[in-house]
Amino acid sequence: MNRTLVVFWKELREVLRDRRVLFSVAVSPLLLTPLLLWGIGMMVQQREESARKVVIPVALVAPRGGEEFIAALEGGGVAIRRVTERKQAEAMLRNRQVKAVVLLDEQFDERLHNESTARVVVLFDPLNDSSRDAVQRLKALTEHFSAEWVQRRLARRFIGAEFTQPVAIVTQTIQAENPVGNLILSIILPYVIVLSAFFGAVSPAFDLVAGEKERGTIETLLATPASRRQIVWGKFLTVTVVCMAAAIFAMLGMLLAFALPTSSRIFTEQAGKFSLSLPVLGALVVTLLPLTVFYSAVLTIISTFARNQKEAQTYLIPLSTLIVLPAVASMFTRTESALWLAAVPVLNSAMIIKQVLTGIVEPSFMVLSLLVSCAVAAIALQIATRLFERETVLLSS
């Protein structure tokens, strides 16, 4: 067997027995990510439900009338506490005895019946979550009450409801099978994939060269007939496989999370319908290949240059910034992006993933992006190989 492959299989075997790697590459994305999103979804759902059920205490200052409106509020889960003075109501709000204060216009009923606008003033505490929730509830109930009165006013004049809406807009998605979930995933997935691929491979990459120097196994390896190129390529291949596995598991973990009905509600009600076709998966793997080669080569460079794993970790901090920034930028960059972005490593891969997931693939962007990624990966790999052939770097520990 080729010595590169001998090194590769041995390294892969060791990596597969490393619990840290298994946890970060497979267990965490496949188990923890769906669990985390499911947990957040449950919390959001519970909060929404409890917010719907809870009766909100509100102080009301209504000099005259407004009984119908007040009844509508009470019917919508608002407990009215009538007070005569605004100051008294404000004090109750400050003391958190009520969540909001409703001030009704003196001519509330007259304005309502005379086809004028009756004013409702709501006082609330912007620093208090439940006070803000109370405002939302009051707004919704008032809008509902208002809409009912519009119907009544129109009916009085024998006018249909269509009168107030001369034109109606109806939007329909052309992707019936993967609608909103696809859009949300296309924003989140590229970010998750490009970061997971990098951080998943950090531990094995540092263990494979810097770790060997630290443990003193590198010298015996260098004394075998395997050339340095064969050794570094075997190690580099292993890191690339781990990179790719980390990216794929991160993607599967997110899809699994979206498939869970509760967690998917955080993002969209329709996310459960999301599915990935084989061509889309194939395109993702093609995109990921140069990216993982680039990551793997860069991590091998650091691992070779560092005297031990601890030193490698210190180089990782500035490098992480260079990876995280373009990954974050991909979330805020439009899918149909400018061609020059194809020349920015990491961001270009994230943008292709985004394009593939939304089905808006720009061939020129894709080709240029893949060319740039391949070129950058080849340069990084060449540097890693050269560095590995330098005896002073390799034997420094």
Partner: protein, 268 residues
């Protein structure tokens, strides 16, 4: 004729017929250090080692023993001079040199997540062994070095003595004619050191050449057929123990050694 070419020509002549398993002529190694500038780790080292000979390289820490073995093992490239190992030139045939040497150091660690058997199979494959031949060689070493009890155990769970036996097996998996042993007993207890010493004696009996670097006088005294005393990168004396004793007029090797180093320092 250019001096480098002349040295290479002489080295190849000397190695002919493998009368000399290791031949070094004028080997030098200079490192560039940011703080200290050019550091001469080896300074025109020349010697020969014969088949079936345990050739000791005796020197204090930092004398250049490890650098010498690394250069001969083609892990480092010499700055000047040349050498052959098992008839192969270290500059032009590094892969063949590595194919014919076994390399064992005191700081050698094992791959913790591999079993001892996997470790041996890995190195065997790197030396070009495969299939039935590799399996047979591993079984042979398991029997010879009595590793049956722990051969399928993970290396990170082995005792120091067991690890050292795996290290020895790893270094001879390809049955090399030349062994480079760089302070192989460093940090080991008496019992484990004894395993190494016995292994060196066995290698000599099998007709293998052993280059054995140490700073422990008793080991050199017991094992080495000839000793090269190395100091500050230079070989200050080569000979059998008796020859060195005669040269210095001292009996104990420790005093012989100190005397030789003193001689060298005196010259400077």
């Amino acid at each position: 004729m250019h001096s480098e070419t002349r040295i290479r020509f002489r080295v190849s002549l000397l190695a002919k017929g493998l009368q000399r398993m290791v031949t070094a002529l004028g080997l030098s190694k200079v490192f560039t250090d940011r703080k200290r500038g050019a550091v001469v780790a080896l300074d025109e080292v020349s010697f020969e080692a014969r088949p079936g000979e345990v050739f000791g390289i005796l020197g204090v820490n930092g004398a250049g023993k490890t650098t010498l073995l690394r250069v001969l093992g083609t892990i480092l490239t010499p700055s000047a001079g040349d050498a052959t190992v098992a008839g192969y030139n270290i500059r032009t045939q590094p892969q063949e040199v590595r194919q014919h040497i076994g390399y064992l150091t005191g700081s050698t660690a094992l791959y913790g997540r591999l079993t001892a058997r996997e470790m041996l199979a890995y190195f065997g494959s790197l030396y070009g062994l495969s299939g039935e031949m590799l399996r047979r060689r591993v079984d042979e070493l398991v029997e010879t070095l009595q590793m049956g009890e722990f051969i399928d155990g993970r290396c990170d769970r082995l005792s120091t003595g067991q690890r050292q036996r795996v290290s020895i097996a790893r270094s001879i998996i390809h049955n090399p004619p030349v062994m480079f042993m760089d302070e192989p007993t460093a940090g080991l207890d008496v019992v484990t050191s004894r395993t190494i010493m016995q292994f060196i004696e066995d290698s000599r009996r099998r007709g293998h050449t052993v280059l054995f670097s140490t700073h422990i006088m008793s080991e050199a005294e017991r094992l080495c057929d000839r000793i090269a005393v190395i100091h500050r990168g230079r070989i200050v004396a080569i000979g059998t123990l008796e020859e060195l004793r005669a040269r210095t007029g001292e009996r104990a090797l420790e005093l012989v050694f100190l005397s030789l180093i003193g001689e060298k320092e005196g010259e400077e």
